[in-house]
Amino acid sequence: MSLKKKISMTVNGNLVNAEVEPRRHLVDFLREDLHLKGPHLGCEQGACGACTVKVDGQIIRGCLYLAVQADGCVVETVEGLTKSGVLADLQESFMRHNAMQCGFCSSGMLLAAAELIEKQPKANREEVREWISGNYCRCTGYHSIVDAIVDVLDARAKGQKIKPVSAHA
């Protein structure tokens, strides 16, 4: 199992060169080798969506994707997308609605929601529910997550930004 392969990719804007076992999945690589904390592992079966990251602009299940497959790709996680401001409106709206409790699903949920906003900007409440049905949330009951996403869709439709909520530590 020690056979390793050289890979190179851009992760959150930084070029990364590494040697990995071909069996190492992308999220293990991001978490354990690069020490990123945003993508989480809930099931490692592709069912829960907590490991969602972006590869070349598209969201994927990081636990069903091998690190070697991302060789030469642009990989983005919630950390990078936070820094670049891509998720800012969603994050404010999630704060406002308490659209998270334990937070373990949140990075995957935010990435799924961001893709919805990009691809289906006129989605209604039911379509939002359908879109995020690939992501488990065990805490919220989903209602607040749907509220938070719908608010961002509404604001975008009106060309508005979501007002920041006062943030406590």
Partner: protein, 798 residues
């Protein structure tokens, strides 16, 4: 942010002098960090020299361990140790999980790693520790256990038959606990009743499916002889105590740290064999060891809950009065009672709670808790409440149907009136103050009940079958020592808070109760800001560390707001007093002339700002030479709170579900769900709404989807998230929440718990709604989860 209905009724008098935050939907403390991917869950922690443990677990329900071969596995790359039960038993004592106040309860000694026998599929038998998880998993393939299968007890129905093998022969039978209750004159009530209805209710086993699996890192430092455990846990002090006792350490030798916890729901309030095994390995190896359950391990080793079969009946008279309830509850709990809370509590709660909202005076209950060779069951969100509620409310609807009374009217007539408190429930439970009548009035209005019934009737003519179901409920929260302490379990019912004015004027609050996503830290920040008199962004909350927080019970039985919150309030009010005393000494003025507002000491009469908190901090810490002789600034205070007035403080509420059933497919579509919740003083309506909604969806999961399925030999058939269905966003309805506030007089804050009522009420409401929709077919289903197949069978389509 909240619909107007969410905020109705929030009219209580303030609890602090200058209340700015308590009662408001403040954004949650710490939430931004989680939304930016900066949470620190156990698997985010990597320590130097850390090993990773994986377990060889029993592949069958019951087996004899003949011989364990570890030589090949030990030689694999990176392997640090391969340890079996006999070796583990030299460092970790076995335990027996019983409680003294559950008379006659028994269980067998259980080990961290199985010795001689394994009693359920998934019981840990051999531990493999390696430098990486992948290496440990590679080596695990080479662990060779010689074993032979033993006869297994799978069905709880036959567990007590004389022909059934005994799981623990030394116990004499497969009965863990039994309880009988007979109050009033039940036989006479049934004999004289105009209406008797009965049903047999079934509840499938389900489990919590926390998105972050159970996990921990144990780190033993031989130089200090000190054990540090990073744990995804709800009760850090309880685990500290257990590690002390099982490994022969003292409290000061054990440090338990709980950082971010990725979902708990009661799953992470128990002590598991692999918890102890991981600690034992860290002590043997004198290096850190990490355990993270994978999802299959979670399904086979996280506690399960709620496997019950209950025969129930209800008696009522023509006038519409409930006369009596009678139940017979059989529940299976796996091969051992779970440590340290015990697996008998769930059934015991069912006996306590059935019929609880109603004023009837005759009740008989019988409970048998039996052992079986399946994953151990124990307390999971709502503990017994969803079962008791679904049985009670199912019977109530049956009686109303027979009397041809509207189910809401029938409930209004029979609930214990709002002016009848304090009183005792028929099972002996003490009810301080509840608001059933007000809640029923509120939900009727909220859902526009008459219009909904009209819509239902019109659609039924068109062949569309919709149903409305109610569930009235009571929930026990704010537990006193009556829950565990009196039974000998060292689980604190009191909790504490230490609050400190830092030199800069920031308030640091250290609390025994921790955060698993409920927003506990958020409400503590709100309480602290109001009670000390600072802005909320001047408050820092620290939880989840046994070295620094006051000793407490942690998160269970919805005690975070009611018990932990009261401790925070008391400590913060005491700190404000000390701040005023110090200000009086600095200004040489009587304290009676001073007050606090927004981080300033003011002249009470004029409102003039006299001293900022930063100046109080500066003098209190750095210039004590300027203070009068003998004056102590005391800018850190600790207060504890324990609820002693009642065994528990009961809350109440009511839920309603609106569903559509397709008689051709048996498919249930949830259209809408309403909840009215009375958790006493609401500290943050938004957070309560989200507790209620999340809990309702977990309740709906049990009612419609979730079940741990076993085959006849005791093997779990659905140990993956693809096979075990939990609710997803698309199937779930919008959930409207309203609050009624009836504060408890047992505390200054008046807060009761809010975490579990949603789970308690939803299964009953959904079940009743489905059966209401099926009424034209003269059919009903009382077997949860209510699947399409069960519906089609009930209406004889298959």
């Amino acid at each position: 942010m909240n619909k107007p209905t969410d905020l109705k009724g929030l009219v209580l008098d303030p609890v602090t002098n200058d209340q700015r935050y308590i009662g408001n939907s403040e954004p949650r403390h710490g939430a931004r960090r989680l939304l930016e991917g900066q949470g620190t869950y156990i698997d985010d922690i990597q320590l130097p020299r850390m090993g990773h443990v994986v377990f060889w677990r029993s592949p069958v329900a019951h087996m004899k361990i003949n011989k364990i071969h570890t030589e090949q596995a030990s030689k694999m790359p990176g392997v640090l140790a391969v340890v079996d039960g006999v070796q583990m038993a030299k460092v970790c004592k076995p335990w027996v999980a019983t409680l003294g106040h559950l008379a006659g309860m028994k269980s067998a000694p259980q080990h961290a790693l199985a010795v001689d026998r394994a009693c359920w599929q998934g019981e840990p038998v051999v531990a493999v520790v390696a430098e990486t998880r992948a290496q440990a998993e590679d080596a695990l393939q080479l662990v060779d256990v010689e074993w032979e299968e033993l006869p297994a007890v799978i069905s709880m129905e036959s567990a007590l038959d004389p022909k059934t093998p005994l799981i623990h022969p030394e116990l004499g039978d497969n009965l863990c606990f039994t309880r009988s209750l007979d109050v009033g004159n039940v036989d006479e009530a049934f004999a004289s009743a105009d209406v008797v209805a009965e049903a047999t209710f079934g509840f499938g086993r389900h489990t919590g499916v926390t998105l972050e699996p159970r996990c921990q890192i144990a780190d033993y430092n031989p130089g200090e002889r000190r054990l540090t455990v990073y744990h995804s846990q709800q009760a850090p002090h309880m685990m500290q105590d257990l590690y002390c006792r099982q490994f022969g350490l003292s409290e000061s030798d054990v440090h338990v740290i709980c950082k971010d916890v990725g979902g708990s729901f009661g799953i992470k309030v128990h002590a598991y064999p692999d918890d102890f095994a991981t600690v034992g390995l860290a002590m043997m190896l004198e290096r850190p060891v990490k355990f993270v359950a994978d999802r299959l391990e979670s399904f086979t080793s996280d506690i399960h809950a709620r496997e019950h079969r209950i025969k129930g009946r209800i008696a009522a008279n023509k006038a519409g009065d409930i006369l009596a309830f009678e139940i017979d509850d059989l529940t299976g709990i796996g091969p051992y009672s779970m440590f340290p809370r015990t697996s008998a509590i769930e059934g015991n709660q069912v006996v306590n709670l059935v019929g609880g909202p109603y004023k009837h005076q005759n009740y008989r209950a019988h409970l048998n808790v039996v052992f079986q060779n399946k994953t151990p069951t124990c307390q999971y969100r709502g503990v017994g409440h969803p079962i008791a509620c679904a049985v009670t409310e199912g019977l109530v609807d049956l009686a109303a149907q027979k009397l041809q009374m509207d189910p809401l009217e029938f409930r209004k007539r029979n609930v214990i009136p709002d002016d009848a408190y304090p009183c005792s429930g028929i099972s002996g439970i003490k009810l301080e103050v509840l608001s059933h009548e007000q809640c029923l009035r509120t939900i009727e209005k909220m859902m526009d009940y008459p219009a909904l019934r009209k819509e239902q009737a019109e659609l039924r003519k068109k062949g569309i079958y919709r149903g409305i179901g109610f569930a009235t409920l009571i929930e026990l929260t704010n537990p006193s020592p009556a829950f565990y302490g009196v039974g000998g379990a060292r689980i604190a019912s009191q909790d504490g808070a230490s609050v400190r004015l830092d030199p800069s004027g920031v308030v640091s609050v250290l609390v025994g109760v921790g955060e698993q996503g409920q927003g506990t830290e958020g409400i503590y920040a709100q309480i602290a800001a109001d009670a000390v008199g600072v802005s909320i962004n001047q408050v820092r909350i620290v939880t989840g560390d046994t070295d620094v927080t006051p000793y407490g019970g942690g998160t269970w039985a919805s005690r975070g707001a009611g018990v932990g919150g009261e401790a925070v309030l008391l400590a913060c009010q005491a700190l404000q007093e000390n701040i005023l005393k110090l200000a009086g000494a600095i200004l040489n003025r009587p304290v009676s002339e001073l007050r606090v507002y927004c981080s300033y000491v003011l002249d009470k009469a004029t409102g003039e700002q006299l001293l900022p908190f930063s100046e109080i901090g500066r003098i209190g810490y750095f210039r004590t030479d300027t203070l009068p002789a003998g004056f102590s600034a005391d800018l850190m205070v600790t207060r504890h709170y324990t609820q002693k007035d009642y065994p528990f403080i009961f809350t109440n509420g009511v839920q309603a579900s609106y569903v559509e059933v397709d008689p051709d497919t048996g498919f249930v579509k949830l259209l809408k769900h309403w909840a009215v919740e009375d958790c006493g003083r609401v500290i943050n309506p938004m957070l309560v709404n989200e507790q209620v909604r999340g809990a309702i969806v977990q309740g709906i999961g049990g009612a419609l989807f979730e079940e741990c399925l076993y085959d006849d030999s005791g093997l779990l058939r659905n140990g993956s998230m693809a096979d075990y269905l939990v609710p997803m966003a698309y199937e779930m309805p919008d959930i409207e929440v309203a609050h009624v506030e009836t504060p408890t007089q047992s505390s200054k804050l008046g807060a009761k718990g809010a975490g579990e009522a949603g789970t308690a009420g939803a299964p009953g409401a959904v079940q009743n709604a489905i059966n209401d929709a099926l009424a034209p077919f003269n059919a009903a289903v009382f077997e949860q989860p209510i699947t399409s197949e069960k519906i089609l069978r009930a209406i004889k389509k298959i």
